[in-house]
């Protein structure tokens, strides 16, 4: 097994203690840091997401894999050259005003970070103005809004409506999600993208910035 395969396997199985060590060994072997990041970790998290989607693994297994990857990223990051960005995009993410739920949002953040994004977490009960302010950052490619309650779906609608009127609207995409949200509702309120779980969200986010 190559060092990269070994690393990918350690990430997939969530071995947070071994991952940083394997990243260091890969660096010592002279493997390109970008390859370590992409092939050894981001692709491995893609496999994890796929397995989760197919009900082969459970939420905590996805969490430990993401945690393991994070430890690996810390080691590889300083070695990425100036031309090589560690991130494929920037996302801001929050739970809409009136809604205090954060478990689902945090899970999505973990998976999207693991897909290679920089994510700014706006937290919960985020007022529309705060979303707008964050979306004004010209580096932001995606704005994610989460709502966990049927009673906060109108708040999600208002947030998306306000984002749709932002002067720099063409620079970012809007992703929405949360237990009561459906594709139909997402279309109705004018969001660009909806997915029904964290793994699918990471896949979709990649597609949004790459295609």
């Amino acid at each position: 097994m190559s060092k990269i395969e070994e690393l990918a396997q350690a990430v997939e199985t969530g071995k947070a203690k071994i991952v940083p060590q394997l990243v260091q060994e890969a660096l010592d072997e002279g493997i390109d840091p970008m390859e370590i990041l992409n092939k050894g970790m981001i692709d491995a998290m893609g496999v994890v997401g796929e397995k989760f989607k197919n009900n082969e693994i459970f939420v905590p297994e996805m969490l430990v894999a993401a945690r393991a990857m994070k430890k690996g990223v810390d080691v590889v990051k300083p070695h990425l050259g100036a031309g090589n960005s560690a991130t494929i995009g920037k996302m801001v993410m929050g739970t809409v005003a009136g809604d205090l739920h954060d478990i689902g949002k945090n899970l999505v953040i973990m998976m999207i970070e693991s897909a290679g994004f920089e994510v700014v977490d706006l937290g919960v009960d985020v007022p529309i103005e705060k979303f707008l302010e964050a979306a004004a950052d010209p580096d932001v490619n995606i704005v994610g809004c989460s709502a966990l309650l049927t009673t906060t779906m109108p708040s999600l609608r208002d947030t998306v409506a306000a984002l749709n009127k932002a002067p720099n609207r063409s620079q970012f995409k809007i992703m929405v999600g949360g237990a009561p949200i459906t594709q139909e509702f997402a279309d109705e309120i004018g969001a660009d993208c909806y997915t029904d779980d964290a793994a699918a969200a990471a896949e979709a986010a990649k597609k949004l910035v790459q295609g």
Binding site: G14, E61, V64
Partner: protein, 268 residues
């Protein structure tokens, strides 16, 4: 949870028959199944007359060791039989058991003092099973004084506060929980064990009582227990309770055991 697999016990009629007929395959099969189900120790109890007990224990221990590396719990009410059987074990296991009765401690502790053998100690003495929690703790104090004399670390002891049948003593659980909590407070590294199925004697549908007992006892500090590891519901309850008590990071132990089909629906 330290699981002491209880199935090889001559007081169970089918096992008594296997011993009588020297049915080696039957015993090997019981050992293998318990090892596969995750037993930490395989308990071996002959339940025969004392004059042939060591010989039967020897036969049983050899059979278990032919099929698994899981260490043995040498189980006998006679300290002499236990001491006679210890040399047949390939590696240190568990002495089951001593108590405040007679010369049990005086015979066993010096022999296991400088070894890696662990030991079950029951909170009863020559006066019988103490009724109150305070009296059991008194026996416990005596056991610990002796252990200290022989330099046996608390982490090598499995204290059995004595599980009694619920249907004749309303406060059985409350008493036990009190004893367990106090013992753990004094010696955080000590193990607390018990014979789980004792609680449900003479009640109908015993398994639900056993299962609920396991949960409550674990909450009070039970971290070792004598039961049938092939009881998948009980094993499931153990893993779930450990997770609920915050002893299982990210529920990974629970998930892994489920995946290994130690509990839950049988897929294969």
């Amino acid at each position: 949870m330290i699981i002491i697999g209880e199935k090889i016990n001559g007081s169970i009629p089918s096992v008594a028959k296997a011993i009588e007929e020297r049915n080696a395959d039957w015993i090997r099969d019981l050992a293998k199944k318990q090892a596969d189900a995750g037993a930490t120790y395989i308990d071996v109890c002959a339940s025969v007359d004392e004059d042939k007990e060591v010989e039967v224990l020897h036969w049983l221990i050899d059979l278990v060791q032919e099929v698994t590396d899981v260490p043995i719990a040498v189980d006998s009410p006679s300290p002499d039989s236990i001491l006679g059987a210890l040399p047949f074990c390939n590696k240190p296991g568990l002495v089951n058991s001593v108590s405040g009765e007679g010369d049990k401690i005086a015979k066993i502790f010096p022999v296991i003092a400088d070894t890696k053998w662990e030991c079950v100690a029951l909170c009863c003495d020559d006066t019988g099973i103490p009724k109150s929690a305070a009296d059991r703790l008194r026996v416990f104090d005596h056991i610990m004084e002796e252990a200290k004399k022989y330099n046996i670390d608390p982490s090598r002891l499995h204290i059995d506060p004595l599980v009694e049948m619920l249907c004749t003593t309303d406060d059985a659980m409350a008493n036990l929980a009190e004893v367990m909590t106090k013992i753990k407070e004094q010696y955080p590294t000590i193990h607390i064990t018990g014979a789980v199925s004792n609680i449900s004697f003479n009640l109908p549908y015993r398994k639900i009582v056993n299962l609920c007992f396991m949960v409550l006892a674990m909450n009070a500090g039970l971290d070792s227990a004598i039961f049938d590891p092939l009881n998948r519901d009980l094993i499931g309850a153990v893993y779930a309770t450990e997770a609920l008590l915050g002893m299982d990071d990210y529920c990974m132990e629970y998930i892994t055991a489920y995946r290994e089909e130690l509990f839950g629906p049988v897929k294969s």
